[in-house]
């Protein structure tokens, strides 16, 4: 008999395992147990929000204790009775908790529609998928756009600088609150991959398996450089107003759009850009001898910039890029990445993509080498693709097969059999 909780129906009061933050305020409107929810509904995100009160501050790496703070999350699928089928998905820089289903802001599908869903590699008929908006984000979890309780105004630059470690700590608090002691798998791409590694290093006993995708154990100089370009674009926009634009109703739209455009190029590859656009012109027969978007690639990038501004907060972009820049897992372990994984019993599946020049295969190999130093249970695949860093979000059958196989084997090992009916 499988208990059919649907979260936010995962009411902590039902949980006897005493990991609950009893003082946390569950603001989720849907607390009721929904015994009718089955696989066919599982693509509908069940949303939740937890606020941790003044008695449960979050200690941040910068020394500040953040309080109160809220973690917003979404879940897909059904938690089994043993609470053993949890797949924690960590989102990337500009992602959010809407992994699958329909995004409430954009009305478009979630960011991993080919990976997460019924019958897909991360099968919501079998697994309970949980994704939380990262700390510093702008989709419900506490970040610079939320109110500073001291002033009643948006934090802006008063928000403390956060790290990947802080993000993961906040997620761990969420799991405590939900009564989930262990996750079957933690996975994510890019910054999500960084969080996966942080999870595995900081909470090894809570992570049965880990799939860091297109990630790295530290942010490279080149990547810090690209982030700095993006941040400078935002800060150069007069509407940024030293980070206090939300107080005046302004928005550094131009700066944020440029930041997104520059970053977007790094997510692709020369081959992918050439294949998609070449030197094709946009709705015209000849170049105009001006600075309009003559080329399709320009038009595409402008579109990426403009649509991004509608869904993302500029200060969040500053904070989250900074968190990535500061990430260097080895530093917390006396400079030895291998030490971060010493004695781990977590099963790893490290994935990289051949044409990813932002998080190249060599970065993933460094992680594999570190894991090999303690003969950890590690699998490593480099997927052959010309789609660049973004390949982890796209249609890559070999990649899907790898994840399906690895996750299925981990589930079988934990006694989680096929799809739940």
């Amino acid at each position: 008999m499988v208990a059919k909780y649907v979260i936010g129906a995962l009411d902590p009061s039902n949980n006897q395992s005493a990991m609950t933050d009893t003082n946390a305020t569950d603001q989720n409107a849907q607390k009721s147990r929904d015994t009718d929810a089955g696989a066919s509904d599982s693509l509908n995100a069940q949303e939740g929000k937890v606020t941790f009160g003044p008695d449960q501050p979050l200690p941040l790496d910068c020394g500040v204790e953040l309080s109160p703070y809220t973690v917003a999350y979404a879940t897909f699928g059904t938690l089994n009775e043993e609470r053993s089928n949890v797949v924690l998905v960590c989102h990337a820089l500009t992602g959010d908790q809407y992994v699958a289903g329909i995004h409430p802001t954009t009305g478009k599908p979630g960011w991993w529609p080919m990976m997460v869903g019924p019958g897909l590699p991360i099968d919501t008929d079998r697994y309970f998928v949980l994704c939380a908006n990262v700390l510093g984000g702008c989709m419900g979890t506490t970040g610079p756009k939320e109110s500073d309780p001291k002033t009643g105004k948006p934090y802006g630059l008063e928000f403390p600088v956060i790290t990947i470690g802080d993000m993961v700590r906040a997620q761990a608090r969420l799991l405590d609150h939900l009564g989930i002691e262990k996750v079957l798998c933690v996975t994510g791409g890019s910054m999500g991959g960084m969080q996966v590694l942080e999870w595995a290093a900081s909470y090894p006993k809570r992570v049965v398996s880990a799939i860091p995708i297109a990630g790295a154990a530290r942010h490279s100089a080149q990547n810090i450089a690209f982030h700095e370009v993006g941040r400078q674009a935002i800060m150069a926009d007069p509407n940024w107003e030293g980070g206090s634009y939300l107080n005046t109703g302004n928005n550094p739209r131009a700066g944020l759009a440029v930041a997104r455009m520059a970053a977007h190029v790094t997510y692709l590859s020369e081959q992918a850009l050439h294949r998609k656009f070449g030197r094709s012109l946009q709705d015209r027969e000849a170049v105009t001898y001006g600075f309009e978007a003559d080329f399709q690639v320009e038009s595409y990038l402008r579109h990426q910039g403009i649509t991004f501004v509608d869904r993302f907060d500029a200060n969040s972009y500053l904070y989250i890029t900074r968190a990535m820049d500061y990430f260097d897992l080895a530093v917390d372990f006396d400079g030895s990445l291998a030490s971060a994984f010493e004695g781990t019993e977590t099963r790893f599946c490290v994935v990289s993509f051949t044409s990813d020049w932002l998080f190249p295969t060599s970065e993933s190999r460094d992680v594999v080498h570190a894991l090999n130093a303690f003969t950890a249970k590690v699998s490593f695949v480099e997927i052959d693709t010309d789609k660049g860093h973004d390949a982890f979000l796209l249609d890559e059958p070999e990649f899907f097969d790898t994840l399906r196989g690895f996750l299925g084997a981990a589930a079988k090992d934990q006694g989680i059999e096929g799809a739940q009916s």
Binding site: R347, C349, V350, V368, H369, N372, A373, F374, T375, K377, V378, S379, F380, V381, E382, I383, D384, E398, D401, T402, R404, G405, F406, G408, A409, A410, K412, D413
Partner: protein, 222 residues
């Protein structure tokens, strides 16, 4: 220091077939040499057939390295811990004595530096098990002698320009290399075209002529 060689004729192919049906003949012989519950690294593990067999039937804690993406994917889909990598470069990551056995099944002849891979194998593992096609096999010699061209046989079935086998050796060459490297041959099994064991006696002259492949269990010689 001289290599110790023993006749490995005590295991017949029929025995191996019974213990591991469906496995390639050298893999069956290798599987039979591995004690249950041990730690095994299979270098060049292909689609993971041996690792899968060992995990299922011998409770072995296995790891693998494989060059081809298709092989790695097949392994990962089976739940095996296999990394996409290269025997020449990736063995150095592993700590000394990490495994009870390190296996090179039909892999040694495809690496760039067989002697270094052999040394690494016995640094990482207490024992090494190597299987390889014997270039001294009489059909290979005959082919080369009569046609004057690189032989193509059942085990060496690709043309010289597309074969991954870049460092072919004979059973005799292998024994001499072990000697040079101070590696002790604990057991040697040489098998003929039909998978039957070929006696390995004295210098191994007959085995070198009659066996299509060799399977050697190696130790550190200390």
């Amino acid at each position: 220091m001289s290599s110790q060689t023993q006749s490995g004729g005590h295991l017949t192919n029929d025995d191996a077939k019974r213990t591991a049906p469906g496995l390639r003949v050298d893999l069956r012989l290798i599987a039979d040499k591995i004690n249950a519950g041990t730690r095994v690294l299979d270098v060049g593990c292909g689609d993971g057939a041996l690792l899968n067999y060992l995990a299922t039937h011998k409770d072995v804690d296995g790891r693998g390295i494989e060059l081809s993406q298709s092989g790695v994917n097949a392994c990962v889909a089976r739940g095996l811990a296999v990394i996409q990598g290269n025997a020449d470069t990736d063995l150095s990551d592993y700590p000394s004595g990490a495994f009870d056995y390190v296996i090179l099944s039909q892999t040694l002849q495809a690496v760039h530096q067989p002697h270094k891979v052999m040394s690494e194998m016995l640094r990482i593992g207490t024992r090494g098990i190597v299987s390889f096609p014997n270039f001294g096999y009489w059909r290979v010699r005959w082919d080369l002698l009569t046609h004057g061209r690189m032989p193509i046989t059942e085990t060496l079935n690709q043309a010289w320009y597309e074969t991954p086998n870049i460092h072919m050796c004979t059973v005799k060459d292998f024994v001499l290399l072990c000697d040079d490297l101070g590696i002790a041959i604990e057991q040697s099994i040489t098998v003929d075209h039909n998978g039957r064991p070929t006696p390995f006696q004295g210098s191994g002259f007959l085995a070198n002529l009659l066996s299509e492949q060799g399977v050697f269990v190696l130790g550190n010689g200390i």
